[in-house]
């Protein structure tokens, strides 16, 4: 078995509406354990686990925790980023719909360790089911004394509020998300200062992805050192993979880091529908690289993914078979970012429109060598000159396709 169920172990095993079933299945046990530990020891365990953020950027979780812990402000916020809007990603929805208390437990532990005073879960507006489930779970947790004043008889107070997005992808970016909670259009801020020093309402704020918080109880349970033994040296633990596209079994799978992409597609995904050939696979989501079939033996690992000058993404694998045209797919991706760009940075706002125009030339077999060069330089400009992760990663699909599908481009040149 290549699956390893640490944070998805309760999926389908408990009724997500029932806090009692969660408690029976080891739930809130790790919160009790954490409350008996020194705060610094909790952070130390996370540090030893080498846990990296699961939202896409892979930032070490312990560094954010240390950053927030050293702030002395009386208000410190903990935000769970559940604005999962990247095409191809749906693992956060699985976590919220199947095991909402695990997220809460992770947030409460992090808040206790860092001195967090108030929590927010920012859920995309499309996820109505997740929103109601989380609100329900928060009420249940309050009744049992896991949230609210004097949690489990300690001096620790913490509450969590659910906020809804309103159909904006860029609000998954940390500062855009903060702006959105404050009631503003979701446009990012210039960094530094980083959110851990000046975040929500100008106060120190720690933001993690749903999966990152969901992993915290497991780390408390097994200890950081044991957790770090799972996976690869640069990427410890397990990762939820959202598998979609032309595979037989689509869905969310939890695997230890280090598994080859091919195994995910063939062993977990059951291979390609009607045994067609794979034309291309997009990794991470719309902001990730597109790779050809011969590269599928690559392992899932943060370090390996850095090759694409991009981030790992949130763990999506989108498989596309031989019936699909590279440029149709690229146009859809670019149009997505064109629509979702907040408009603050000119290269991102205008660049996607121009990239779409260039790709249309390839679709219509009207491109020239100069168009290949223009596309390449435009993609680099957007990548380098945008303030936030949207513009920095959106050209990855183009840049990688120029590298690995050069022949497809040359085929479309005008004679």
């Amino acid at each position: 078995m290549i699956e390893m169920k640490l944070i998805s172990k309760r999926f389908g095993q408990i009724n997500p509406l029932s806090i009692d079933e969660y408690i029976k299945f080891d739930g809130y046990k790790n919160l009790k354990k954490a409350l008996s530990m020194e705060k610094t020891e909790i952070i130390e365990q996370v540090q030893k686990s080498y846990l990296r953020g699961r939202g896409g950027a892979g930032f070490p979780a312990a560094i954010k925790m240390m950053g927030l812990a050293k702030e002395t402000n009386k208000d410190k916020y903990i935000i769970c980023n559940a604005d999962e809007g990247e095409p191809g990603n749906f693992k956060d929805r699985y976590l919220m719909e199947n095991d909402p208390h695990q997220i809460l437990e992770g947030m409460i532990i992090v808040a206790y360790a860092t001195g967090g005073t108030k929590g927010f879960i920012y859920v995309r507006g499309e996820y109505q089911k997740s929103i109601s489930l989380l609100k329900w779970s928060i009420d249940e947790a309050k009744k049992k004394g896991f949230l609210g004043k004097n949690i489990l008889g300690s001096k620790f107070n913490f509450d969590i509020e659910v906020r809804s997005g309103a159909g904006s992808y860029v609000c998954g970016e940390e500062f855009a998300l903060i702006e959105s909670i404050e009631g503003n259009p979701g446009r990012t801020r210039v960094k530094p200062p980083f959110p851990t020093s000046v975040g929500l309402y100008g106060k120190p704020t720690l933001i993690n992805n749903v999966e990152t918080f969901s992993t915290i109880p497991t780390i408390i349970e097994m200890g950081g050192a044991k957790f770090a033994k799972i996976g690869t040296p640069s990427s410890t633990g397990t990762k939820l993979i959202s598998l979609s596209g032309n595979v037989k079994n689509k869905g969310v799978f939890e695997i230890p880091f280090g598994v080859p992409i091919r195994d995910v597609i063939y062993k977990l995904g059951g291979g390609i529908e009607k045994d067609r050939k794979i034309k291309m696979v997009q990794l991470g989501g719309a902001c990730g690289p597109i790779i050809p079939e011969y590269m599928l033996d690559m392992i899932i690992d943060f370090e390996r993914f850095e090759e694409f000058e991009s981030k790992t993404g949130a763990g999506a694998i989108i498989v596309m078979d031989e019936r699909f045209d590279l440029f149709d797919i690229l146009l859809k991706i670019v149009r997505f970012f064109q629509h979702e760009s907040c408009g603050k940075c000119t290269p991102c706002r205008e660049g996607h429109i121009q990239m779409a125009n260039l790709i249309i030339k390839f679709i219509e077999h009207k491109a020239t060598v100069k168009d290949i060069m223009s596309l390449e330089s435009l993609a680099r400009v957007i990548h380098q000159a945008s303030l936030c992760g949207l513009g920095q990663t959106s050209p990855t699909a183009i840049i990688s396709s120029l590298k690995y599908f050069r022949d497809d481009y040359l085929d479309r040149l005008i004679d």
Binding site: P87, G125, R163, G167, A316, I318
Partner: protein, 152 residues
């Protein structure tokens, strides 16, 4: 429901703006925020009207023009596209006799595109109001639309 009733549920702080707009637009029958309502919300929260307008125009969920009773949103992103055997949008357009971004003359349906709905494992997908429909086929779309026509 009157806007006043919705407003009363929320504290008068600026960060409630998006929640208020979402709440009111959902309960209002033609799902949009009018000029007069922008003024009323701005005055309730003691913020400039321009602030309400900027939020309204930024987020795709919001509309400043009347829409149909049911809002149909079709996912146009890659995972749904590669899972589709039929052109979902064209099927709905044909069924309702309208194009994307239009409303049927009887004000029952508005057809829109949406970015990914996060159900890529069950594509192709669409959303009608708050409900997501998955594994769409031409027949399934026809059945769903007739259900809305008759019962809702």
């Amino acid at each position: 429901m009157l806007l006043k009733e919705v407003l009363q549920k929320y504290p008068k702080t600026e960060d409630q703006l998006i929640e208020i707009l979402l709440d009111y637009q959902t309960v209002k029958s033609n799902h949009y925020i009018s000029k007069e309502e922008i003024i009323e919300i701005a005055s309730y929260l003691s913020i400039p009207e321009s602030k309400v307008c900027s939020v309204l125009s930024f987020y795709t969920f919001f509309s400043d023009k009347p829409r149909g009773k049911h809002i149909i949103q079709v996912c146009k992103d890659v995972p749904c596209y590669v899972s589709s055997d039929v052109d979902i949008l064209k099927t709905i357009e044909k069924e309702l006799g309208i194009r994307v971004n239009e409303t049927t003359p009887n004000q029952q349906f508005t057809l829109e595109y949406t970015s990914c709905l996060g159900c890529c494992e069950a594509g192709p997908t669409m959303r009608i109001n708050d409900k997501i429909y998955t594994h769409l086929t031409a027949d399934k779309i026809k059945a769903i639309l007739s259900e809305y026509r008759v019962y809702m």
